[in-house]
Amino acid sequence: MRWIRKHKKTAGILCFLLILAGAILFSGSEAGRKTAAGSLIRQGVAAVQKPFSAAGRGLRENVGGILNYRAVVRENKELKREISRLKTENIDLRLKASQLEDLSRLSAALDYRDPDSGGAAVAADVIAMDSSSWFNVFTVNRGTESGIGPGSVVTDGSALAGKVTGCGKGWAKVTAVIDESSSVSFKVLRDMSLLGIVQGDGKGGLKGFMLDGKASVIDGDTVVTTSIGIYPQGLEIGKITDVRFNNDTQLREVTIEPSADFKNLQRVAVLP
C-alpha cells in the first residue's frame, strides 16, 4: 500500500491498462453478439461521427473543385460537345420522320401500290355471271370488308380477268377485260419494247393495235400488262392469234385470245 501511496501516478496508469486489457478481452470473446454495452458504445460513436463526416464532405465538395479546376473544365467541354452532337442527331431524326409522314400522305393521295410490297390478294368465288352474250359482268363474294374497292384488279390466279366496277359489303361487281368498255395497254413478252392497246371485241375476245405500225409481232406471242393505267405490270392477258396491217389507219391490228377462261371462271384473286 506504502508503494501505491508513493507511486500514485504509475499505479493509476497500470490500473487503466488493466481495465483496457480486460475490455479488449471481453469484446473479443463477445464479438458478433449484440450486447447492451456494445449498442450503447456504437450509438455514442455514431452520434459523434455524424457532424464530423458532414464537415468532411463539405470540404471535399467545395474546396476540392477549386483544387481540381482543370479537370472540371475539361469534363465540361466534353459534355458540351456530346450535347451538341445529340441535338443535331435529334433534329435529323425528326426531319426524317416528317419526310416519311409526307411521303405516306402522298402515297395515300396517289393511291400508290408498291409492286414489290407483295400485298396479299383476296381469293373470291364467282357467285353470279351474266348469261347473255353481250355483257361480260360477274359478281364475286368478297367486297369492301376485304379492302376491295372500285378499280381493284381481278385475276384468275395468273391471268388478267377484269376490274371491280362496283362493290359493297360481301360482294363486288367485276367487269371482265373482254368487255368492250375496258381498254388495256400491253407489251409483248418476247420483246418488251413492243407496246399496244387492246379492248374487248364484243364476241368474247380481244382486239387492238400496236403503237408502232412496224412492230414485228407474230401469232402466238404472249402479251402482258404494262404499268400504264390501273393494271399492275406483268399480268398475262393472252396470246396473239391474228396480225394484220390496216392500210386505212396504218396500224398493225392484233386479235388476242384471252388467257382467262371467262366461261368457266369459278375462283378469282382480287388485288385490293
Binding site: 357467285i127 355471271m129 348469261s131 347473255s132 353481250w134 359482268v137 368487255d179 374487248g200 364484243g202 366461261k263
Partner: protein
Amino acid sequence: MKILKRTLAFAAAFLLQGTLLNAFSLFHQTPNLLLCLVIIFSLLYDDAWTVILGGLFGFFTDLCFMPAPGIAASGMVLICGTVFLFKKIFNRESLLSLLFIGGCCVLLYQLYLWCAGRLLGIPAGFGYWLRLQPLYLALNLAVLLVLYLFLINKAVRHRKDRKYR
C-alpha cells in the same frame, strides 16, 4: 297461279339464272329463265302482275349484270306488251301458238339487248348476233314447252277461243 307463287317462281329463276344454270350451259349458252317466265305468264294470265314482277326482277338483273340500269327491266316490259298484243290474235291454248309467240319474243328480246349493247359501244355486228340465235332460240323454246305443259292445266280457259264457240 297465285301471285305469291309467281313471285317465288321469278325469284327462283333469278337466282338460278346467274348461278347454277351456268354449270349446265350448252356451248356456253343458257336459256333465259326470267324471259321464259315472263312469256308464259303473260300468255296464260290476263292480270298486270306479270308486268310488275318481270320489270322488278329485270331491274334486279340490271343491278347485278348490266352495265347500265333499265336494260333488262324495259326489255321484260316490252316482251309483256308484245305477248299481250299477240294474245288478241292467236289462240293461247295451242302449242303452235306458243312456239310462234315464244320464238318471236325471244328474238325480239335478243335484238333489243343487242341494240342496247350497240348503243353502249359493243362492236359485235349483226352477223355475230345471227350466229348466236339458233341455239339460244332452241334452248328457250324447250324451257317454254316444259313450262307450258306444266301450267296450261292451271290456266283459266278462255271462253272466247274459237274452239269453244
